[in-house]
Symmetry: C2
Subunit: 205 residues, 2 copies
DNA sequence: GTTGCCCCGTGATTTCTGTCACATTGAAAA
DNA sequence: TTTTCAATGTGACAGAAATCACGGGGCAAC
């Protein structure tokens, strides 16, 4: 696929190198792309779709940290790749997803030679770190109702739509809560006219 | 002070450069070193003491994220410095502290020229990211009693002592809880013979 | 000594959230 | 159409943690 427009900042030489050395790969919605403890062999750039980065607990709960969309890269894979260490997170394709895998052997060279790549890595890292900070803020300081509102807002922004197609159970998993709690809080939000509830869909006002 | 032994991996040339361009600075216990929203003008290497990295909420609560000790660097200051952006965290000297401040103008050059610096930055970033992940794990998946045990364990390891000099109120702040809750949980731990409680001091068994 | 100030202990109460049990509903499959 | 099943609604209850209200105790300044 023609991915260059997703990374307009990259210099032509860099694009050439990536084109030559990187491999494209597809995942189906639901595929696990990376799991805790796994060694990372390449850096992942997202071309299409959405990747959910989450943390798994003992009972298989999938606590959402953030999403990666087109034009974004997995900070964890970058850092782990450079040091050939294991990742501490899980990544799963939320939708059908296309990614570009850049072998780790290239990382050092790219970091040295291409300023735009270096900038991209730094920027990616800062972005993910800030998102993690926001997550910490939410779970440390906010109650479930506020976290739910934040979740819906982010979800809606991510998709650019007011209609969110997701079940209460799915939300509960992402927030490490339970379905009943989410259902109740959503009902309250509906009473406050913040949302309208439908089956498998929530409509933001 | 003679700080070179703290960073044995740095190549001689790099050490020379740092010696020439960086400035040493002292902070007293309690001094705020960096605050939310502040622009970062230099990267911080810790030489002596302990720096507490935390997140402040509306009511002034200081939610602990991690500590920086001698030989460690502030990942946030590195990243923010490179992009001259604002930090999203607070940093405060827990003890009297000595740091080395490296002006941001040097960062690009150092990253390019000195492989050991580059490695150090990457390693620092991975370390802090993993600590943040551990924090998320704790508040997302664990109850206060487990978080308290983790807190005490970490504190003790950090200082290399079994006797922790800290008030219950201080712990409550760090965990974003309340003194009464911490006191009660500590009492339970004492009944399980995990700790002995004294005034302003907790003795781990 | 005594005064004042933290620190700590502890019960009572409330709020938030998780859990259990079941009813209802809607949409797709048979 | 009926069947079936996942999604949702809701009441009752349990448990963790926050909050309120005190009381006692140690320690330092006066």
């Amino acid at each position: 696929m023609n991915w260059k427009q997703l990374f307009p900042q990259f210099e032509p030489e860099l694009i050439e190198l990536i084109e030559k050395e990187a491999t494209e790969r597809s995942f189906n919605a639901g595929d696990v792309i990376m799991r805790t403890g796994q060694y990372i062999k390449s850096t992942v750039l997202v071309l299409e779709g959405q990747i959910k980065i989450y943390r798994e607990n003992q009972d298989g709960g999938e606590f959402l940290m953030y999403y990666l969309g087109p034009g974004q890269a997995c900070a964890v894979s970058m850092i782990c790749a450079i040091q050939s260490q294991t990742s501490e997170i899980m990544a799963k394709a939320e939708e059908d997803t296309e990614v570009l895998m850049i072998p780790i052997q290239l990382m050092d060279e790219m970091m040295n030679k291409y300023k735009t790549w270096y900038q991209f890595v730094i920027q990616t890292y800062k972005g993910r770190f800030d998102e993690l900070l926001a997550v910490v803020d939410n779970i440390a300081f906010r109650n479930m109702d506020e976290r739910l509102e934040f979740y819906l807002k982010r979800y809606s922004e991510k998709l650019g739509k007011k209609n969110i197609e997701v079940s209460h159970q799915q939300i509960a998993d992402d927030l490490n809560s339970s379905r009943e709690v989410i259902s109740r809080l959503l009902k309250k939000m509906e009473q406050r006219s913040l949302v309208k509830l439908h089956r498998n869909m929530i409509e933001l006002s």
